[in-house]
C-alpha cells in the first residue's frame, strides 16, 4: 500500500471513529426527547404523583431540584469566588498556594458518592441537620466549588492588567480595585462557572441519596430542615424501585431533568459567548 493510500485509509478510519464517538450523543438526546415528549403535559409538571407514583405528575421533584439549585448556589458562590480572588489576585507562588491548588484538583476528582458519605457523616449526623435541604445543599455546594473556582479564576485573570494599574494609580486600594474594577469585568465569566457548576449539581444523584432525597413525598418541604424529592433520585426510584411503572412517565421525568440541566449548561455557554463578543479590550 502506498503512502498516499495509507493516508487516505487512515483519514477514513479516523473520521469513522469520531462519528462513533459523536453519533450516540445525538441519539441519546433524540431518543429521550422522542419518548418523553408525549408524557409532558401541564398536569405532569404541576401535579404530585398519585397511586404509588404510577400516575400523576412530578411537581414535587421539580420544585425540590430547583430548591437544591438555589441552595447549592448560596453555599458555593461566596466561598468559591473568594477563593478565586485569592488565587488570582493575592496568592504568591509559594507552598501554600500549591497546596490550595492541589486541594482544588482533588476536590474535583473525589467521586460523587464519597461526597454523599461526607454529607451524611458531617451534616446529617454530626451537625445534626438530619436528612434535609440544608445538608443536601451544603454537600452539593462543596462539590461544585472546584468548577466555580477554576472558571472564576480564569475570568479574573482575563481582566487586563492595565485596569488594575490605572485604578491603583488613582489611589484606590487593592480591595477597591478588585471590587470596582476587576470583579465587574470578570462577572460574566464568574457567572458562567457558577451556572455550569449548578447544572452539574442539579443532575447529581449520589450526593443527595443520603443527605436530602425523599423516596416519595407528595407535599412540598415546609422548611430547609425538611427532606424533599428531587428529579435525579425520582428517576432512579421510578426506573428501578417501582414495579409496573409506565415507561412514558420514566421518559418524561428523564426529559424534564435533561431539559433543566442542559438549559443551565446552554445558558452558561451563551453568557460566555456574549462575554467574548462584547469584550471591549
Amino acid at each position: 500500500m502506498s503512502r498516499q493510500q495509507t493516508h487516505r485509509l487512515a483519514m477514513i478510519v479516523i473520521t469513522l471513529v469520531a462519528a462513533i464517538a459523536v453519533i450516540p450523543i445525538v441519539f441519546v438526546i433524540g431518543y429521550v426527547v422522542w419518548n418523553g415528549i408525549s408524557a409532558i403535559s401541564w398536569a405532569f409538571l404541576t401535579e404530585a404523583p398519585r397511586t404509588g407514583m404510577t400516575e400523576g405528575g412530578i411537581m414535587p421533584a421539580i420544585v425540590g431540584t430547583v430548591i437544591l439549585i438555589f441552595g447549592t448556589a448560596i453555599v458555593s458562590m461566596p466561598l468559591s469566588i473568594a477563593t478565586a480572588v485569592y488565587l488570582a489576585e493575592y496568592a504568591h507562588d509559594n507552598r501554600l498556594t500549591r497546596y490550595i491548588r492541589l486541594a482544588i484538583v482533588n476536590l474535583a476528582g473525589i467521586p460523587s458518592i464519597v461526597y454523599g458519605l461526607f454529607g451524611l457523616g458531617a451534616f446529617v449526623l454530626f451537625m445534626g441537620f438530619g436528612t434535609s435541604i440544608v445538608a443536601g445543599s451544603l454537600t452539593l455546594g462543596i462539590m461544585t466549588m472546584p468548577v466555580v473556582i477554576s472558571t472564576a479564576e480564569e475570568a479574573i485573570l482575563g481582566v487586563p492588567q492595565q485596569f488594575r494599574t490605572v485604578s491603583l494609580s488613582l489611589g484606590a486600594t487593592r480591595w477597591q480595585t478588585i471590587r470596582y474594577q476587576v470583579l465587574p469585568h470578570a462577572l460574566p465569566g464568574i457567572l458562567t462557572g457558577l451556572i455550569l457548576g449548578l447544572g452539574r449539581a442539579a443532575g447529581e444523584t449520589a450526593p443527595i441519596l443520603f443527605t436530602v432525597a425523599a423516596f416519595y413525598l407528595p407535599e412540598l418541604p415546609g422548611s430547609v430542615f425538611d427532606q424533599t424529592m428531587a428529579l435525579p433520585y425520582h428517576l432512579y426510584v421510578i426506573a428501578t424501585q417501582v414495579p409496573g411503572m409506565p415507561l412514558s412517565i420514566q421518559y418524561g421525568t428523564a426529559l424534564v431533568l435533561l431539559l433543566i440541566v442542559l438549559s443551565l449548561t446552554l445558558t452558561a455557554t451563551i453568557v460566555r459567548t456574549q462575554m467574548r463578543r462584547r469584550r471591549e479590550w
Partner: protein
C-alpha cells in the same frame, strides 16, 4: 515563556509598606481564609470518612476485609469482589474510551473543517452535561436488552457498565487530548510536511508522540472519572457481588462496584453497625484512589499553570 505574566503592581514592596487600613486588612484576611478553606474541606472530608470508617478496619480481620466474599447479611465483609468489579468496569471503560477519545481529538484538532468543529465541540460538551442518572436510565431500558441480544445470559453486565462509562469519560479524554495536541508547536507539523510526509504520517509520527504526556493525563483523569461513577454503573452492572471466573466471557457477567455498593446499601443499614462502618471504609478506599490519581495528574499538568497560561505560552 517569553510572554511572562506581568506581576500585579499591587505586589510590590513599596505598596505593602504603604498605609494599611483596617477594613482592607480584614477583607484580605477573609479572602485568604476562603483560599485556605479548600485545604480544610479536603481534610474534613477525609476526617469524616475516617471517623465513620475506621471501626471497619479495626473490627474486621484484615484477611476477611480483603477476602473474596461480600455477604453483609451473614456479617462477612470482603471487599475483593467489589474491587474486582470496579476494576473490570473501569478497565473496560478505558479500553473503549481511549481509542475513541484520542482519535476523536485528533479528528477535531487536525482534520475536521472549522465549521464541523464548531458543531461537534458543543455536542461533546453537551455529553459532559448529561446527568449520569439519565445515561443509566437509558442503559437500563435500551442498552441492557441490546447486550442481552448479543448472547449474554443477562444484559446487566460489566461490559454494559463499561460502555456507558466510556461515553461518560469521553468529554474529559477528548478535551485534555485536544489541549495536548494543540500544545504541539505548528513548526513540528510544518517541518514534517515540508520533508514530504503525508498528513497521516505527520499526525502519527510527529504530533501524537509530541502530545504523549498530555494524553497520559487524559488517561489518568478518564480512569479517575470512571472509577468514581455511581448511579449509571449501579443501574446497568447487575450488582452481583461474586468474582467472575477468569475467562474471555467474564466481562459479560454481572459485577458489583464499590460505588454501587455504597449507594445501594447505605439506605438500608443502621447507623453505627459494622456494615455501616464498612461502607464508609469503601469510601476511604475510593477517596485514596482518587486522591492518588488526581495528585499525580495534577502534578503532571503543572498544578501552577492555568489552562490559559499554558496556551498563552504557546502563542
Amino acid at each position: 515563556m517569553a510572554v511572562a505574566k506581568e506581576s500585579p503592581p499591587a505586589r510590590t514592596r513599596a505598596d505593602e509598606t504603604h498605609s494599611v487600613n483596617w477594613g482592607e486588612a480584614i477583607i484580605e484576611t477573609l479572602i485568604k481564609a476562603a483560599g485556605i478553606s479548600t485545604i480544610f474541606i479536603i481534610a474534613l472530608i477525609f476526617f469524616f470518612l475516617l471517623r465513620e470508617g475506621i471501626p471497619a478496619f479495626l473490627d474486621i480481620p484484615l484477611r476477611q476485609l480483603f477476602g473474596p466474599r461480600w455477604y453483609p447479611i451473614e456479617g462477612i465483609y470482603g471487599l475483593l469482589p467489589l474491587l474486582v468489579g470496579s476494576l473490570m468496569v473501569t478497565v473496560g471503560a478505558v479500553v473503549i474510551a481511549l481509542p475513541l477519545g484520542i482519535i476523536t481529538a485528533i479528528y477535531l484538532g487536525e482534520i475536521a473543517p472549522l465549521w464541523l468543529r464548531e458543531i461537534l465541540k458543543p455536542i461533546i460538551e453537551i455529553l459532559a452535561g448529561i446527568p449520569s442518572i439519565v445515561l443509566g436510565f437509558l442503559g437500563w431500558v435500551v442498552l441492557a436488552p441490546l447486550v442481552q441480544n448479543l448472547g449474554a445470559p443477562t444484559g446487566l453486565t460489566a461490559f454494559t457498565g463499561s460502555l456507558i462509562l466510556a461515553y461518560m469519560s469521553l468529554p474529559t479524554i477528548i478535551s485534555i487530548s485536544e489541549d495536548a495536541l494543540y500544545a504541539v508547536p505548528k513548526e513540528y507539523r510544518d517541518g514534517a510536511l515540508a520533508i514530504g510526509a503525508t498528513q497521516w504520517q505527520t499526525i502519527w509520527r510527529v504530533v501524537v508522540p509530541a502530545a504523549r504526556s498530555g494524553m497520559v493525563i487524559a488517561i489518568m483523569l478518564g480512569i479517575g472519572r470512571a472509577i468514581g461513577e455511581t448511579m449509571a454503573v449501579m443501574m446497568v452492572t447487575g450488582n452481583a457481588s461474586n468474582i467472575p471466573p477468569l475467562s474471555p466471557g467474564m466481562f459479560f457477567q454481572p459485577v458489583r462496584t464499590m460505588t454501587a455498593t455504597i449507594a445501594a446499601e447505605m439506605g438500608e443499614v443502621a447507623q453505627g453497625t459494622l456494615h455501616y462502618n464498612t461502607l464508609f471504609a469503601i469510601g476511604i478506599v475510593l477517596f485514596v484512589i482518587s486522591f492518588a490519581i488526581n495528585s499525580v495528574a495534577g502534578r503532571l499538568v503543572g498544578v501552577k499553570g492555568t489552562r490559559r497560561e499554558r496556551h498563552g505560552a504557546q502563542l
